[in-house]
């Protein structure tokens, strides 16, 4: 039965994608994830008190992503742009003491599905574009890493929610790369839902993205 369902699904996909004009691509990003929101501000105050620190400050960590892109042109200016990304995100804070600091890194690895609308300015070999839309994230792994002087500790499994919803928007340039199309992009996303429970933690990711559409021409020819 399962085989039949898969077969029918495959045939449907084949017939659907056989009809429409689409292209696929690969992307990678390097960014600054951080937490914000009133809940996180309160959390930092609590940490300052509980750690007896002189100061506790928000410390964006370094994140990254790799992903697949699937894009369908809607007309000669707009495309529907979807992405499936594996994203290393999270946030952190630094506690300052008299003569040393303690760095706390809250790490999440999420699977993220983004559905964007993309608008191209002009036409030709090099095109500037804007994109934006909702992003769903699904938590795969989480951990906290603490660097306290020379001591390094890891605590697995933060009590984070499995599902998150965010809005992402960016601006980029698409260009020809020999037989392929390449792009570089600046993008920012902000989470609507709380990272866990009703904590008031909001996940943010500001990143530099780049990628390639292999040998398939421009999106809005």
């Amino acid at each position: 039965m399962k085989i039949k369902v898969l077969l029918v699904f495959s045939l449907l996909c084949t017939s659907l994608f056989g009809e429409i004009d689409y292209r696929y691509g690969f992307s990678a990003s390097f960014g600054l994830p951080f937490y914000s929101g009133s809940g996180f501000e309160d959390y930092l105050d609590e940490q300052e008190s509980s750690l007896s620190a002189n100061d506790v400050t928000n410390n964006p960590i370094i994140g990254s992503s790799i992903g697949l892109i699937f894009e369908v042109p809607l007309n000669n200016k707009f495309t529907a742009h979807s992405e499936l990304n594996l994203v290393g995100t999270g946030g952190g804070y630094v506690a300052s003491f008299d003569d040393e600091t303690s760095s706390h890194l809250l790490s999440e690895i999420n699977l993220e599905l983004a559905l964007f609308i993309k608008y191209y300015f002009g036409s030709g070999e090099t095109q500037v574009y804007l994109l934006g839309g909702p992003q769903q994230s699904y938590l795969l792994l989480s951990a906290e890493y603490i660097q306290d002087g020379s001591a390094f500790d890891k605590y697995d499994g933060l009590d984070y929610d499995f599902f998150g919803l965010a809005f992402g928007a960016g601006v980029g340039i698409e260009f020809s790369l020999v037989d392929h199309r390449g792009f570089i992009e600046l993008r920012f996303s902000h989470e609507f839902t709380d990272t866990f429970g009703s904590s008031g933690f909001k996940q943010n990711y500001g990143g530099f993205f780049m990628g390639i559409y292999p040998s398939q021409g421009v999106a809005n020819e």
Partner: protein, 460 residues
């Protein structure tokens, strides 16, 4: 024979790429950034190392803080970092950049790694070794991978799986760019020659501690693999780019339970063939060479990044014999060699729970001499000696270490007889030695390692 390629001059051919120089440089920089990100992602997500847990705070601290002499282990700093730099360099080169632009991209990769991609304090020696050792190793890896992928006119040879796999292992980014850029970018290649052999023999190692006597450490049967390669020839005016000619020797030895890795290379940066009106059969070449060398085993460790002058000579002796010799004199701008007392303390006693180097960082000089005689390309006699005089950098002495001087040498005498072209059998005697003259309370050391082996291999 060491350097006799004059009959097969390099046929150089570079066709215009579809990309501009800036486009190539930009693509190279992007690949350097991807390379850094990939290595960081491994440290951060797979290995989950403390030094991979970077943040905005760690970047700011490194950017505005002072630089140090790194305390990482020898293999990381003198094998790993040059390889990391070689990936940067070959990424830029295979994206179409010229050697000097690729060196710039390598320094960008190394600098950004030190400042931003680790929580560790940025270190001076890492920047030097990654950039210059990486450029040296990277150009060789790039050239050899091109040699597998392209013919002598720079055309794609439609290489088979073995060639693609070999090129990818040598230089992953060259294969990547070959796939990405296709036929739009061609690189010159030059012929290679050399020999590869395996050997079985007997080895013996001694340590003499001044005032205490001599101790035998290793004694027993050994096996080895050696690879000697010459790329291009120094005896041509066609050499226009750095490393249009280079030589390298790589070796892996197993002595009892000890491994022994060696790597020596000399790359021609700029050279001039010289002709003699009194000896028209002789070929001479004088040039500036870059060297990246290391010895890595439990007894003797050496890392040396150097630049200097080299003189190569080739001449027939009558109708049957030919002689090749080479002389290199250079400055070691970043050397490293182990402090045996700290090293053995960490192995056999108790290592500290914090990072502390077991080797010195140094500067100094090198001397490389070699002589090769061949009889009708049937019988070969090779003699080589490499010598490093290293002065320990005082401000880089690790905790518990010492200042002073170190002298490291590697000598080889071998005989090869071609039984059926290209196969040969032979024998060799090899010795490594190191003298350490320390200025503090440590006694001076003398280390020797002898190896006698029978060889079998083939010439290419």
């Amino acid at each position: 024979m060491a350097v006799n390629l004059s009959a097969q001059e390099a046929e150089l051919s570079t066709e215009d790429s579809d990309m501009s120089a800036w486009g190539s440089f930009g693509l190279g920089l992007a690949e350097v950034a991807v390379s850094n990100s990939t290595l960081w992602a491994f440290n951060r997500y797979i290995n989950q190392s403390d030094y991979g847990m970077i943040s905005l705070d760690s970047m700011e601290t490194n950017l505005f803080g002072s630089w140090v002499w790194d305390q990482d282990e020898f293999s990381v700093n003198h094998l790993g970092h040059p390889y990391q730099g070689a990936i940067y360099y070959s990424a830029a080169r295979s994206a179409g950049s010229e050697p000097w632009a690729s060196l710039l991209a390598t320094s960008f990769g190394s600098l950004t790694w030190e400042l931003f991609m680790e929580t560790e304090t940025p270190s001076k020696n890492d920047l030097i070794v990654t950039t210059l050792g990486g450029a040296s190793l990277g150009e060789m890896m790039y050239r050899l991978s091109c040699n597998l992928l392209y013919d002598s006119h720079g055309k794609i040879e439609k290489p088979g799986f073995i060639r693609i796999a070999g090129a990818t292992i040598l230089s992953p980014t060259t294969s990547l760019n070959n796939s990405l850029l296709g036929s739009s970018f061609h690189e010159e290649v030059a012929p290679v020659s050399g020999w590869t052999s395996i050997g079985l023999g007997y080895s013996k190692g001694d340590i003499g501690v001044d005032g205490y006597g001599t101790y035998s450490l290793y004694q027993g049967y050994s096996s080895s693999f050696s690879h000697h390669l010459n790329y291009g020839t120094p005896f041509t005016k066609k050499n226009s780019k750095p490393y249009d000619h280079f030589s390298l020797q790589a070796g892996v030895g197993l002595y009892l339970e000890q491994y022994f890795l060696t790597f020596y290379s000399e790359g021609l940066l700029k050279g001039q063939p010289l002709y003699s009106r009194w000896n028209e059969d002789a070929q001479n070449s004088l040039g500036v060479y870059m060297h990246y060398d290391f010895i890595y085993n439990e007894l003797i460790n050496l890392g040396a990044n150097s630049v200097g002058f080299g003189w190569q000579h080739s001449q027939p002796l009558g109708n049957s014999w030919e002689i090749d010799w080479a002389l290199h004199l250079g400055m070691v701008y970043m050397g490293a060699s182990d402090i045996l007392f700290l090293k053995f303390n960490d192995i056999y006693s108790e290592a500290p729970d914090y990072e502390r180097r077991t080797y010195n960082l140094s500067m100094g000089n090198l001397l490389k001499v070699s002589c090769a005689l061949d009889y009708k390309e049937k019988l070969f006699f090779d003699w080589q000696y490499k010598f490093y005089n290293l002065i320990i950098i005082e401000e880089a002495v690790p905790e518990g270490g010492t200042t002073g001087s170190e002298f490291v040498g590697d000598g080889l005498f071998s005989v090869r007889y071609v039984i059926k072209d290209p196969w040969f059998v032979g024998a060799n005697v090899r010795f490594y030695h190191k003298q350490s003259l320390y200025t503090n309370d440590y006694p001076d050391l003398t280390e020797w390692l002898w190896s006698y082996s029978l060889q079998a291999g083939y010439t290419f």
